[in-house]
């Protein structure tokens, strides 16, 4: 094996990642503490550890193959996930009125979770082809637009607004990163803005309008989202500067079950570790992104850079949207905090993302001084 592969492995990224995972495990343990004590057999903390083990196996495996292979495979991967997104609408398992889960051989997964990876690879592959230049013309943007719209519509139909937004943010980041001319941005704004009012007035049904309004103003739904946000704010605020200390949070008594260990995990951390803990977590997120960008800059080719930027933005956007929602700055859409929230599907796709970043980092030596 090439020694340079190991030499170029980016250890700081793994270090930051482990720190974030530690924060996650501590928060999950604390959030579930009363439940684990009441019913030790149903221990989600242990389950999370198992998921992490699986995740790291995935991470390791994703290092073994040169990422250049993905450039050719990406279209097939993308189509495969797209088909499973169609399938999930018909044969998916329905939970709380939404079809998001596909079951294959007793193993359940969310195709939308893998679409985040697949769309990055596919866009990176498309944008790195020789006849697409930075600041691509309109004709070069039609295909990527379709690639983005198709999965977004399918995921919206599940319905899973949160994931659809993340897909849009990730793809948008990649398109902006390739460079988009100002006039295209202006043109699309001019085209879309006048549509908003007629769509709002005539296309949306009253209950759909209500849902969107609640999204923007949780206080309109005092028994649902508004209640969650109020509890979340109390939990975060009560942490004050230094926090209440590990396992000393009282949020367990508060009624934002069942999402306290998933969507609202940040408020658990914020309550027990205070402002200091929050800033540490934010710095870690920033560090992870900065380190990933360093890998992207050093990459030997455009495909590598784009893959890394896409994977980093996948982690970044979910973190930003989740924290923004929990601290009451953004609408409440169901998005988890990467590597902190409980959840299997998301850990695996996130580990895959980190694995691909490292993959690019390890194989940058072609253009290095030998």
């Amino acid at each position: 094996m090439d020694r340079r592969l190991v030499e170029n492995f980016d250890w700081p990224i793994v270090g930051v990642l482990l720190a974030i995972i530690c924060i996650g495990l501590m928060s999950i343990y604390s959030a579930l503490y009363p439940q684990i004590q009441a019913n030790p057999a149903h221990n989600l903390f242990i389950k999370q550890l198992l998921w992490l083990a699986v995740g790291f196996t995935v991470l390791f495996c994703s290092l073994l193959v040169d990422y250049q292979v993905l450039k050719r495979l990406s279209l097939w991967l993308y189509l495969l996930v797209l088909i499973s997104l169609v399938a999930v609408l018909f044969i998916g398992k329905e939970v709380n009125g939404a079809r998001r889960w596909l079951e294959i051989g007793g193993f359940q997964f969310q195709p939308s979770e893998f679409m985040k990876i697949a769309i990055v690879l596919q866009l990176a592959s498309y944008f790195s082809s020789k006849d697409v230049q930075p600041y691509p013309g309109v004709r070069k943007l039609i295909l990527p637009a379709l690639m983005i719209i198709a999965p977004t519509v399918l995921i919206l139909a599940e319905p899973d607004l949160g994931t659809a937004i993340v897909i849009l943010c990730i793809s948008g980041t990649l398109v902006l990163f390739m460079g988009i001319r100002w006039r295209y941005l202006l043109l699309s704004a001019v085209a879309i803005l006048p549509m908003i009012y007629p769509v709002w007035e005539h296309v949306l049904k009253p209950y759909q309008k209500k849902r969107i309004l609640i999204l923007l103003r949780p206080d309109l739904d005092p028994l649902g989202a508004g209640y969650h946000i109020r509890q979340s704010k109390i939990a975060i605020g009560s942490g004050m500067f230094g926090g209440k200390g590990f396992l000393n949070g009282t949020q367990n008594k508060l009624h934002f079950l069942p999402e306290k260990h998933t969507d609202f995990i940040f408020s658990v951390w914020a309550e027990e570790w205070g402002f200091v803990g929050c800033v540490i977590l934010l710095v870690l997120v920033a560090a992870l992104i900065a380190l990933a960008f360093r890998v992207a800059r050093r990459s030997k080719d455009r495909f590598g850079s784009l893959v890394v930027v896409g994977m980093a933005s996948l982690i970044l956007w979910q973190a930003l949207i989740n924290i923004g929602m929990v601290i009451g700055l953004l609408p409440v859409v169901g998005i988890t905090l990467p590597f902190v929230s409980y959840g299997g599907s998301s850990i695996i796709s996130l580990c895959l993302a980190i694995g691909l970043i490292e993959n690019v980092s390890m194989r940058r030596f072609v253009f290095q001084n030998r």
Binding site: P134, Y135, G179, C278, L282, G328, L329
Partner: protein, 629 residues
């Protein structure tokens, strides 16, 4: 993000450089921009966190330690059900449930013992309930005892200050003012099931809610249910409410006015006492259902109390099927009450007239068989009127032969037989009017001509519900207007402005001439008024009743009834089903009434008197002295 020198980068310009130098420099700024963007957002987040945790931290710390915020549920009262005259049939009464919030309790075992003493219940039962719900979070109220009686309630309420964590939860409960009366029509409630919760139909419902499952309660669930509300409240350390933070008021269900008259309904049900059967009364001028009785009945209060497993089993296994609404949900061979439709078909088709005379020797030879008339001696020469009055089978065998099965079916369909009436209640039976093509499809055997004879006298494959037959007679009475029956005449909201009146709906105008109707009406009047009429026993001086008796052979027993079981348990019940359908006053009809008594024997003796009683009750007329004949 336009390139710095406004010159779009072209492949030609780039190809001299390698990737690192040329393209990377373009992307260099983009990395920087993205990173700056991220840092700005994270900085804003830090400011927000500073505001929440440091500036306002003390306030939130206080709230988290001294107060807790809870969600309380405010149930919506269900709509009230009135009869046509505004007499409330189903109302709501307050029910007080004893609940406990474990988190607020100081000494659980002592509290439970105290509660057991105050309510006269067992501590063990309470412990069982707690054990079953121990997986719930500690702040969730658990119902220890439902529907406390007045005395227990007063005792608990007096001691509640000493018992932190004990909560009395008020919930409106259904109260059936006339329990067991119109039970099938009104229906019952039961707790929403998990699969129903998931269905789109019950969006916005929560666990533990009652939903209408049958009758009007079920069919008008959408209006009756209302929408529950809730409130966010701040409570102190012992669970006392500090203040209400936010509240969503419940929306009461809308009130429903039935078309039935509860007095008439009671009269009809009294007629069915001790029998198995159904009575339907219809307003011949609108199709409004005035009474819809089915016997045996069930106890609606039992459903509200919560049916125990063995009670439910007993109900569903009862061979007389108390839950079956026989007026709409069971179909029986119509027997002779079918004959007027055959007569009208033949008149309209010009196959018979008033002149037509058919001799009845007591049988009708067909093929190598003799089809018997019910009167072995025969009726002699019969014309249309006397054939209806005396219900002569031979006359209708002949008429039926002339029409053929498919033409009979066509006219029966005009009268709404063989299809659901659209009354809007669950479990309506469509009945069956056979045609030759139907038989070939259903059995694979072609139609036999002899079968037409059975059909012509309402036997064979024919199946009709009491409601269908009564509506069809109402159409004869009013000269061809077939109404869509309805049981709800008004749905009112909470304000006077929100009133929806339900208007009568004509299903169709039957394409038969008035003079034909008049001929048959004359015959039907004779059934009661003529000295040879099959129902002359119910003749009244004060009001002219018209109608027709029917005796349906039990071989074609009601579909939907478990026949084997029925027969096993009631061997003696091999008698025929008795029918009588009539309307009154004969000149200008107001009400049509149909009665069916399962295994009642003859229509004239078992069913006709019931119809007479219901008609007299509706018209408010005293029955003639029975002694004089």
């Amino acid at each position: 993000m336009s390139p710095r020198k406004n010159k779009p980068l072209k492949l030609e310009n780039l190809k001299h450089f390698n990737w690192e130098v040329a393209e990377a420099s373009v992307f260099q700024r983009h990395y920087l921009l993205l990173l700056v963007l991220v840092l700005v957002v994270l900085f804003i987040y830090s400011l927000r966190l500073w505001h929440l945790q440091v500036v306002q931290g003390a306030k939130y710390r206080y709230q988290s330690e001294n107060n807790r915020i809870r969600l309380e549920d405010i149930p919506a009262p269900r709509g009230i059900i009135f009869d046509r005259n505004g007499i409330p049939l189903v109302e709501n009464r307050p029910a007080y449930h004893l609940q406990i919030i474990r988190e607020d309790v100081q000494d659980l075992s002592q509290t439970l013992q105290e509660l057991a003493r105050l309510t006269g219940r067992n501590v063990e039962d309470f412990l069982d309930v707690l054990e079953a719900n121990k997986h719930l979070p500690k702040f969730v109220p658990i119902r220890l005892a439902a529907d406390l009686d007045r005395d227990s309630l007063a005792r608990v309420e007096a001691q509640r200050v000493r018992l932190p964590g004990v909560v009395i939860h008020l919930e409106p409960k259904r109260e059936y003012r006339f329990n067991k009366t119109a039970a099938h029509l009104i229906g019952y409630l039961s707790e929403i099931t998990e699969s129903e919760l998931k269905s789109e139909h019950y969006e916005g419902y929560v666990m533990g809610e009652d939903i209408g499952k049958f009758g009007v309660e079920g069919a008008f669930e959408k209006y009756l249910h209302g929408k529950r509300g809730g409130r966010q409240v701040e409570v102190d350390a012992v669970g006392r409410r500090r203040r209400v933070l936010d509240e969503v008021l419940p929306i009461s269900g809308r009130n429903v006015w039935l078309t039935i008259d509860i007095e008439l309904q009671k009269a009809a049900e009294a007629c069915l006492e001790g029998r198995v059967g159904a009575i339907v009364a219809i307003d011949t001028n609108s199709g409004a259902v005035l009474a819809l009785a089915s016997n045996p009945v069930f106890d609606q209060e039992k459903f509200i109390r919560g049916l125990k497993r063995d009670e439910w089993q007993a109900l569903s296994k009862d061979p007389t099927h108390p839950l079956l609404n026989r007026a709409i949900g069971a179909a029986y061979p119509p027997g002779s009450v079918y004959k007027p439709f055959v007569a009208l078909a033949a008149l309209k088709e010009g196959l018979i007239s008033t002149e037509t005379s058919i001799g009845c020797p007591g049988y009708f030879p067909f093929g190598n068989r003799r089809y018997r008339c019910w009167r072995d001696r025969g009726h002699g020469a019969m014309d249309l009127e006397s054939a209806i009055i005396q219900s002569c089978d031979v006359y209708f065998y002949q008429t039926g032969m002339r029409l053929g099965v498919d033409r009979i079916a066509q006219y029966a369909n005009y009268f709404g037989l063989g299809e659901r009436t659209g009354i809007g209640l669950h479990g309506e039976h469509p009945g069956l009017i056979p045609t030759s093509s139907w038989k070939r499809r259903a059995t694979g055997v072609p139609w036999q001509k002899g079968e037409t004879l059975s059909i012509a006298i309402g036997q064979g494959f024919n199946l009709t519900t009491p409601l269908q037959i009564t509506l069809a007679y109402s159409a004869i009475a009013n000269g061809g207007k077939l109404w869509q029956p309805f049981v709800v005449k008004r749905i009112e909201g909470n304000g006077p402005a929100m009133v929806d009146e339900i208007k009568p709906r004509l299903r169709r105008r039957i394409p038969i001439d008035d003079r034909h109707f008049q001929l048959v009406q004359k015959g039907l009047l004779g059934v009661v008024e003529d000295s040879r009429g099959t129902a002359k026993a119910i003749k009244q001086k004060s009001v002219a009743i018209a109608g027709k008796t029917g005796t349906a052979q039990v071989v074609g027993m009601a579909e939907g009834v478990n026949r084997k079981l029925l027969e096993k348990i009631a061997r003696h019940k091999e008698r025929d089903h008795a029918w009588f359908v009539g309307y009154a006053p004969a000149g200008e009809p107001q009400i049509a009434v149909g009665a069916l008594v399962e295994h009642g024997g003859h229509g004239s003796s078992a069913a006709a008197p019931l119809v007479q009683k219901v008609i007299l009750s509706y018209l408010g007329i005293e029955a003639d002295e029975p002694s004089k004949k």
